[in-house]
Symmetry: C2
Subunit: 394 residues, 2 copies
């Protein structure tokens, strides 16, 4: 009696739920400390103390009906202005409050952008491996997701294939860097090439092709590597940001969209984002956390804790024989599976109490994602299990 589309989605999601249930059963059998759950991107590093302090300050200083009340569907004006100023300072951009739309996390932001842009049947391109929710988000507005196959040498987007898949129906390209699941940062060179292809194709087809940059991992970067800021590369760009990872607030659903100030049809696009936020039922980004963000700009979780995990796990896995690019950001390792069937590999891994996600779930079979946003102690304890898992295939 639910919709036909939803019936299928529920059937699919039951499989994932079954995996979680198995994890619970393992935890009951062997104790939670002896199960190594690397399956979820739920940050373990605590939010900085500034978050708690900001909340308490706001509650004691600001009028409650303002803190918790309605505002413009695009967010509090002063918060948007603070974010615009911060962005300009950090990335030498020229945005103002009107170019910022506060959203219910990056997931909410992506839906707001796609609702604004897509006519039924239009195409959105992304690069494998990719966050599979993109497929649902595009499908919500009857668009078609076109996936460029992975370049497994570097996990940088394959720009030559991009050039081939763009058609007059291409409305947008979604990229995600630092990338989930690879941890790779798309280089300035890659981004420049990507922008060139989009500009070239816009001219060729006389269309507008938007670039949507999904950036929840922007601040989770190791070894001082710079993450190119997309507004500085391509005009028709939306940046979708979230504080889920940079402040460890994934449950609070707080993020924002930045719109390039020189985007074509700027005013109707800004109007569309505002309307989409409202009619999709978000109405506005949660109000208290909007105010928290304005007070904590520049705060970040302690990224060195993730780096410690990365170093420990990367060294161990490559030492025992696994193949993996060293991730430059995010909190994932994307490891080549020693057998072709990555789903079977994850089933095997469970025998050693290791919970992993197959690369197939990201459009990249033959790999496995290891989310190392768990305690260092737990990572350390898991190492012998990984060794045994590797030995199984030797």
């Amino acid at each position: 009696m639910i919709s036909d589309k939803m019936e299928k989605l529920v059937a699919g999601s039951s499989l994932i739920r079954a995996m979680f249930e198995e994890g619970k059963i393992l935890a009951e059998r062997d104790g939670i400390d002896n199960v190594y759950d690397f399956s979820l991107g739920n940050p373990n590093v605590e939010p900085p103390e500034t978050v708690k302090n900001a909340i308490i300050e706001i509650l004691s200083e600001e009028a409650p009906n303002r803190v918790h009340g309605y505002m413009n569907n695009s967010g509090f004006e002063d918060v948007r202005e603070a974010i615009a100023n911060y962005t300009n300072q950090k990335y030498q951009t020229h945005v103002s409050a009107k170019h910022i739309v506060m959203t219910v996390g990056a997931a909410g932001g992506l839906n707001v952008i796609l609702k604004t842009l897509l006519n039924p049947g239009e195409e959105v391109v992304t690069f494998a491996p990719y966050f599979t929710e993109y497929g649902h988000y595009v499908n919500n507005y009857d668009g078609n997701l076109i996936v460029v196959p992975p370049n497994t040498d570097t996990f940088q987007p394959d720009i030559d294939v991009l050039r081939q898949v763009i058609t007059p129906k291409t409305k947008a390209v979604i990229i995600n860097s630092p990338n989930n699941p690879t941890g790779v940062i798309y280089s300035s060179e890659t981004i420049t090439q990507l922008a060139n292809v989009l500009n070239e194709k816009q001219k060729e087809y006389n269309t507008t092709i938007y670039l949507i940059s999904d950036e929840p991992y922007r601040e989770l970067v190791y070894d001082d590597i710079e993450v190119p800021y997309l507004l500085n590369y391509y005009t028709n760009t939306f940046v979708g940001y979230s504080y889920s990872k940079s402040l460890s607030l994934p449950g609070e659903r707080i993020g924002y969209i930045v719109v390039h100030p020189e985007m074509v049809h700027l005013e109707s696009t800004l109007g569309g984002l505002n309307v989409a936020n409202r009619i999709l039922g978000f109405v506005n980004a949660p109000s208290l956390f909007q105010r928290v963000i304005a007070k904590t700009l520049g705060s970040e979780v302690d990224v060195s804790l993730y780096k410690k995990n990365r170093d420990l796990l990367y060294e161990h896995l490559t030492k025992i024989g696994f193949t993996c690019l060293e991730p430059q950001g995010a909190f994932y390792l994307f490891v080549k599976t020693p057998i072709e069937d990555d789903r079977q590999f994850c089933v095997d891994a469970k025998e050693y109490n290791l919970l992993l996600v197959p690369g197939s779930a990201f459009g990249c079979p033959g790999y496995v994602r290891i989310a190392y946003c768990i305690s260092y102690q737990r990572v350390e304890n898991s190492l012998p299990a990984f060794t045994k898992l590797w030995q199984r295939y030797e």
Copy 2:
């Protein structure tokens, strides 16, 4: 370059924005204290002190990664259980945690329900006057909203017309009581008749017709009138609830759905709500406020403050000649306009610095909505303006 649908929506919303801008201009010209803005349903009564206390308690007692972290897309298990128990105690229902889905306000909840249910072309019935966002929500999933014309004698739903408009394509009926914009509470008798018609039509067409009860105003009730709890009247019922009004937290986007435990295809429906919450980009209801809700169950704003406003304004308006049903709940008066053209009436009202919303915006021309969720002082100061407005047509 944005979608064709969105282009039209933006054009429409510009008109509303223009109205707001005019309000701003009035405030600049005559001072904010001399503009009587009755146009917005943004609560002026403060949240109860329990909300602030709960936040501070949670921040000092609970682990930050739990408070602000991911959980099941349907919400924290313990919060859902607390709401289920509270509901059972208050309304003699038999729901458990699994029948509660935490949502991003009632607007998020309605979208989650409709995404779960609707195939393209299916129909959703509602009763004028109605909250116009319903049209957008139904349209988001390519459904058609069928509006039953108002019964302006009582503003109770017209059940005879309902019987006529239900077809084999009818998937759901949305009701809203206490009602925005009339303040009317749908009686137990009305609800019983409505349930009978739905049961009758389900049998006749061998279909499932869902009842969706949108209840953000449930606690805003005067004179000890009981608001029927829909789960006790009809099996295939969803109740969509929000704390926007009962706790004056509209900006925080926190609410929940209750699913009747004996609903047909219960498991796939619960699965669908969970998936819809995720793929629409809500992901989950804001986590801190989920935890706040569990700690403040039974708390309410001081409804007597709204009652004072209602009494003052209702008495004055009816005394000077306006016609209006005395509202039993919510914070709106729905007043017959002395001229037929309610939009013109709102333009006229602006000359006296009165900002009102035409009934046409709720599918009920010839009326005007007055949102009296502003300070008593401001209501009192506005009375001479209403008198002058009435005299204009005498």
